[in-house]
């Protein structure tokens, strides 16, 4: 129990460090992309090059991604401050969301299906 806990804590510390490195690099190079995205690409690079093994971070990584939803509750509670905006624009917002999602799904699916069938199915 104590051992598992210390492993989880150490892995989280490592993931925090990678995340902070992502923010630092994004800020230093003035990249117009989110720092946490840069951190994600760092970890992907570390895994792909074998510098970091999956087993070193996997327990905490899957713990954090499994509970990703928790982090959004504090943000969406802030919607209380936007009640009027939604009352005024509700139907228009819903229309934009539904139509743009439909167009996106259709375009992504049809274009990728066209290319996938051309070269025959290869799966792994």
């Amino acid at each position: 129990m104590m051992k598992t806990l210390s492993v989880i804590v150490m892995q989280i510390v490592a993931l925090v460090a990678i995340s902070q490195a992502g923010y630092a690099v994004a800020a230093a190079l003035q990249l117009p992309v989110p720092g946490n995205l840069v951190g994600m690409l760092f970890l992907l690079g570390l895994l792909a090059t074998g510098l970091v093994r999956l087993t070193w971070i996997e327990t905490s990584a899957s713990l954090l991604t499994r509970h990703l939803a928790f982090f959004f509750i504090p943000l969406t509670v802030g919607l209380l401050g936007f009640v009027e905006l939604f009352l005024d624009n509700g139907p228009a917002i819903l229309a934009v969301l539904i139509v743009s999602a439909g167009i996106g799904i259709g375009v992504a699916g049809l274009s990728s299906q066209r290319l996938a069938s051309r070269k025959g199915r290869k799966t792994e």
């Binding site: 995205l37 951190g39 760092f42 970890l43 991604t65 139509v99 996106g104 992504a108 299906q113």
Partner: protein
């Protein structure tokens, strides 16, 4: 030293999240997803307790401290499905790039036609980006992180509910293409739906969710201002 109201806000949010997990497992539905149900529950408890939004906001940094490392962790599923990606590089890349561009342009154009204010247009432009990245991308495109999260969650529900039906209607049957479309547009919730359809669909959706977020993060700051 944190004020009691901060501790109270954190405790209520954690409790609401834990309860919503139990309810979601028991009664799976878009309305019981933890973000939606947990938020409603938190608001219902906070409001009568006399906690003002400004007080609650003080607890936010402590609660979202681990969001950065959680986003970094998304590299793990991406790394695990690298073989699916390498075997289908062209259809995967083309699908997620044109799908991301199509949904972004459609959203911003329609929002402008309907006369929505600019903070909504900016926030809605990135609604297909997975939430942890969208929150950080929002200020870069001059949107509001809170509005963006609402649009992201709603888009996840819409795509997961209507996506499979729409794809059947327009004849998208290829499993890679189906997963790719769901992940590109409806990120995490779309990926959960794709996993139900099958293994290849799930892997394709996970890849699309991660890479579409990368792609949109790079192009949105350039594209969104063009729509004015």
């Amino acid at each position: 030293m944190m004020a009691w109201v901060t501790w109270f806000s954190i405790a209520i949010t954690l409790g609401a999240y834990a309860l919503s997990r139990v309810v979601a497992r028991r009664y799976p539905s878009p309305l019981t997803t933890p973000v939606f149900f947990g938020t409603v529950l938190t608001i219902l408890i906070l409001a009568p307790s006399g906690v003002r939004l400004a007080d609650y906001e003080l607890a936010k940094p402590a609660m979202i401290f681990l969001l950065g490392p959680a986003t970094v962790s998304l590299a793990v599923p991406l790394y695990k499905s690298r073989r699916t990606l390498l075997a289908n590089t062209l259809p995967a890349f083309v699908g997620l790039v044109v799908g991301s561009l199509a949904t972004l342009s459609a959203a911003v154009t329609l929002a402008k036609l309907l006369g929505l204010p600019s903070v909504i247009r900016a926030s809605i432009s990135i609604k297909s980006v997975t939430a942890p990245i969208a929150v950080e991308l929002a200020p870069i495109v001059h949107g509001s992180p809170t509005l963006t999260i609402a649009f992201v969650v709603a888009t996840g529900m819409i795509g997961a509910m209507l996506g499979p039906w729409l794809m059947n209607a327009v004849g998208i049957h290829d499993p890679l293409a189906r997963g790719l479309a769901l992940g590109t547009i409806s990120h995490g919730q779309g990926t959960a739906q794709a996993v139900i359809e099958g293994e290849l669909q799930g892997a394709a959706a996970g890849i699309a969710m991660g890479l579409a977020a990368v792609f949109t993060s790079v192009v949105a700051p350039l594209l969104v201002p063009l729509f004015g």
